[in-house]
Amino acid sequence: MEELFAPPSYEWKRLSPKYRSMRQLTSLVVPPILLTIPAVIVGVASGHWWISGLIWAAAIVIAIVRFGFVGRSWRSWGYVEREDDLYITHGVMFRSLIAVPYGRMQLVEVESGPLERAFGLATVTLKTASPETGARIPGLSPEEATRLRDRLTELGEAHASGL
């Protein structure tokens, strides 16, 4: 990882490989499904089914391209629990690194949707008083998510400071 987004001398934690599998699946399945509806409508309405074929081909191309990016996107995620703050980095094209001091955390949430549950994954979200913070770590194993939540809550209490 590039130096700008990786403070030195810390062990960066990565997301579960299952998250990559989940993203690979969704990247392959979602575009064809989404584009099937307009493809069918166009086909029925115009009678030119070759346009539908083109739309379908586009869907497959999008799916393949997205599939190709999943690995990089998955690798770009990382987080590290530092002494006083939590760092989260992600993004391939648009990169970001966010640092949230433990003393500023107001809420730590663990969520797991049906698809995530099927893959045995959970998402941890940190909230501060600022809506811009938006710190979120997806694709964690439930044990890691629970551990992280408990740890962050504990650290948050220890560092807590008024606003």
Binding site: L4, P7, S96, V100, P101, T128, A129, S130, P131, G162
Partner: protein, 786 residues
């Protein structure tokens, strides 16, 4: 042991009344007179509903006007419905009024509402963040006002009261919210405020915005000019082709937007006055709806100073602030961001005056601003030359924009989180953005297009600055909390022990000591935290264990401890004689020198005291007694806490502090000693002096504390010499040097090196003083840079 005394029995029941007849049923509290809001309330609410409906329908009719002709028949059925709705609203208004009751007195603030579902809201006075008075036009006509109480994130309304009552209650509640005692009866005689500005006689206006300036500034603002220009362009072009009705669909929303802008920026800000009252800043504004809001300064999270292009020629600025939990409380009147305006238009001097009040000590021009690199023009071609950022030890500033020039100011202590972002184009140019996040509101501090390396340094150092600022803020609050303690309760407590303020013997950061009698003192702790309680509980057995050993010194003793009126106290042994520190300031050298020798003797005698545990150990504090294998482990553990808060500060103030730190550890690792009792803070303020056969000598050492350890006895000897330098008398440094020579003569020349090592140790140990004691911190810096 810790027999806390029972407070004197305080019962409301008079014994004389209850002597005969059955014993009285203990009532929770005497019957309390509750009040209803003003009886005109339902009418005003009904009127407001009517206005809201009229505006709603009006908008509908106007919007549809383009497609459809309004028929007279439409109105004939609308009007009766309107009438029914207004009557219904008046009835619900009446019911709501009838079942609303409130109590605001010396004890509580409680509001009860609801006909079927009863709701009782009780707000503790200390939780009140702000109290605003709002007067919609209809209420104003009847001389009524709404009281809006903000506590935490919830806002409670009390409507409507007569205006004079509302402002009296507001003053009373704000006084109580600041933790001061006041009685509601005292406020009844106050003169009423002016009808047009709601300023009382005690309010001192800071900035008044004249009507001419407000209107002119509005007409020149980008916010107004852009929609106005677009409207003109649309009208002119469509008129040229003769197709104006086609554009109505776009024009009408635009016009409505403009009207609402006039409403918010001109009508809402009319007669804008920022005033200073005894209870903080206050803003009053509004032509039709008069709003009077208090500005809770400690809840301000950031400041935004903006300047539309045309204002530049007139030297005007606009100031908005982020107020925690406030920005979303006001959406009902479509004023969502009105309450965050600190100044709608002001000159630079006025801006500086106002910012000086909300961020004390902040100087807009004192902060050096750095521009973004030239290559930012490839990304921000439209405003790259305006991008700037800078910081000082308290705030961060970012600047951008030329069409509207914006400066965002964020105090470090309010930083919520920090983000570095980089898009693909920025990556090619090695640029990045740094965002410093504050709670919801107009302030959005982003340092745009910095060099990658700079961005990274800014983000990481901002986290450090924010951490240091938070630590300082905590210290400040702890001290502030101490100042706002209930003085009435304190006087009562002192009286219960037969003492008073005039018996004050000494005061330190943690506690104050009052004489009770010849043998005892009352030590009254300032904070309500657990720490002093735990310290006292650990010191008591330690002192007890020394009761039998005679080392020729008076030592402290805790007789009892307890809590009363929310304050923790101990009753301690009173050491005979007078305080050494006070005496030193007036004694001449011939007297001082023998006394200092006796001070050194006393320090050395402390080593003979037995320790409850063998080996190197911390005796007081978390998990105490806590044993360590080596001296260096013990001392590192002692330094951990202070350094956690002062590290960043030290790194800034001392070049190569890491090297000093490593050298200290290297030195300490070489020290081998048999551990002995170490007081840890042997300094003149903790020593007591009595008349001996040949003059005054030190006869007692008090105040063992969390500094007390079982470790190198030289720690105390070194401490006695070097803390002497901190004494506030002219020859303190010379005396310290002289006493050091005496100690070296006694213990041999090799201790010179160790005194020097312990200087650095104490320099680190007390370095967290940067947050609250600049003199002590300066001393620490001197020790560390030797």
């Amino acid at each position: 042991m810790t027999a806390s005394q029972q407070p004197p029995h305080t019962s409301a029941a008079d014994p004389a009344v209850t002597t005969e007849g059955p014993p009285p049923v203990p009532t929770a509290r005497p019957f309390k007179q509750t009040e209803r809001p003003h009886p005109l309330t339902p009418f005003v609410r009904g009127w407001l509903v009517f206005v809201a409906l009229a505006i709603g329908w009006g908008r509908e009719i106007v919007t549809n006007a383009g497609d459809d002709q309004i028929t007279a028949g439409g109105l004939t059925w609308i009007l009766p419905i309107l009438g029914i709705v207004v009557v219904l609203a008046a009835i619900t208004g009446f019911v709501a009024w009838y079942f609303t009751r409130f109590v605001i007195d010396d004890e509580e603030l409680r509001i009860e509402t609801g006909a079927i579902f009863k709701k009782s809201t009780k707000i503790p006075f200390e939780r009140l963040q702000s109290v605003d008075i709002i007067q919609p036009l209809a209420a104003r006509i009847f001389g009524l006002a709404e009281l809006r109480l903000d506590a935490g994130n919830s806002s409670t309304k009390l409507r409507y009261l007569s205006r004079s009552k509302a402002s009296r209650l507001r003053d009373y509640l704000l006084t109580r919210a600041h933790g001061q005692q006041a009685s509601i009866r005292d406020l009844d005689q106050q003169a009423a405020a002016s009808v047009f500005t709601d300023l009382g006689i005690t309010d001192q206006p800071l900035v008044k915005v004249s009507q001419q300036r407000l209107i002119l500034s509005f007409l020149l603002s980008s916010e107004w000019l852009i929609p106005a220009t677009i409207t003109i362009i649309i009208v002119v072009t469509t008129a040229a082709f003769g197709v104006v009705p086609l554009a109505l669909g776009g024009l009408i929303p635009l016009l409505i937007g403009m009207v609402s802008l006039i409403w918010r920026r001109v009508i809402g800000m009319f007669n804008f006055t920022l005033a200073e009252s005894p209870r903080g800043l206050r803003i009053t504004r509004g032509l039709t709806n008069l709003t009077s809001q208090s500005v809770p300064i400690n809840r301000i999270q950031g400041v935004k100073v903006s300047q539309p292009l045309l204002w530049k020629f007139l030297g005007w600025h606009r100031v908005d602030v982020d107020i925690l939990g406030y920005a979303h409380g006001d959406s009902e009147n479509n004023e969502s961001n009105a309450s965050s305006v600190l100044l709608p238009v002001a000159t630079l001097e006025e801006v500086e005056l106002a910012i000086g009040r909300v961020l004390p000590g902040f100087d807009l021009d004192a902060i050096e601003l750095h521009p973004s690199p030239r290559r930012a023009r490839w990304v921000r071609w439209f405003d790259f030359w305006t991008l700037r950022y800078g910081w000082d030890d308290r705030t961060l500033i970012t600047e951008h924009g030329w069409f509207t020039h914006v400066r965002d100011i964020v105090p470090h202590a309010k930083t919520q989180s920090v983000r570095i972002e980089q898009g693909p184009l920025q990556r090619l140019l090695r640029l990045a953005d740094v965002g410093v996040h504050t709670p919801r509101g107009p302030v959005n501090a982003v340092a745009h297009q910095l060099d990658e390396q700079t961005a990274r340094e800014l983000a990481l150092s901002q986290l450090d600055r924010a951490r240091a600022a938070r630590a300082a803020e905590r210290q400040r609050r702890a001290i502030e909390q101490v100042r706002t303690v209930d003085h009435q309760g304190e006087a009562e407590l002192l009286a219960a022990f037969g003492t008073g303020r005039d018996q004050l013997l000494g005061s330190g950061g943690e506690s104050e000591v009052f004489a009770i009698d010849h043998d005892r003192v009352l030590r009254l702790y300032r904070s309500r935290h657990e720490a002093p309680r735990r310290t006292a509980a650990q010191l008591q057995p330690l002192y007890q264990s020394w009761a039998g050993c005679d080392i020729g010194l008076e030592l402290p003793m805790i007789f009892e401890s307890g809590e009363r009126n929310g304050r923790f106290f101990t009753v301690d042994r009173r050491l005979s004689g007078r305080n050494f520190s006070g005496w030193l300031q007036h004694a001449d050298m011939a007297q001082r020198r023998p006394a200092l020798i006796s001070f050194l003797d006393a320090t050395e005698r402390l080593q003979q005291l037995p320790s409850p545990v063998p080996g190197f150990a911390r005796l007081i504090g978390d998990d105490a007694p806590q044993q360590f294998g080596t001296l260096v482990e013990l001392l590192s553990s002692m330094l951990r806490g202070p350094l956690q808060s002062s590290r960043t500060q030290l790194e800034r103030d001392i070049a190569g502090v890491a090297e000093v730190w490593n050298r200290l550890h290297g030195d300490l690792a070489q020290r081998s000693v048999v551990p002995a009792m170490v007081h840890g803070d042997v300094c003149p303020p903790n020593a007591y002096l009595s008349q001996g056969p040949e003059g005054p000598v030190v006869t007692g050492i008090a105040d063992f504390s969390p500094h007390t350890v079982h470790a190198d006895p030289l720690l105390d000897v070194a401490g006695a010499l070097i803390f002497l330098e901190l004494e506030p008398y002219a020859d303190a440094a010379a005396d310290a040097a002289w006493l050091e020579a005496v100690a070296v003569e006694r213990h041999g020349h090799e201790i010179v090196r160790w005194i020097d090592v312990y200087r650095r140790f104490y320099g680190f140990y007390f370095s967290n003083a940067y947050a609250f004691d600049s003199r002590l911190y300066a001393w620490c810096l001197r020790q560390l840079s030797r």
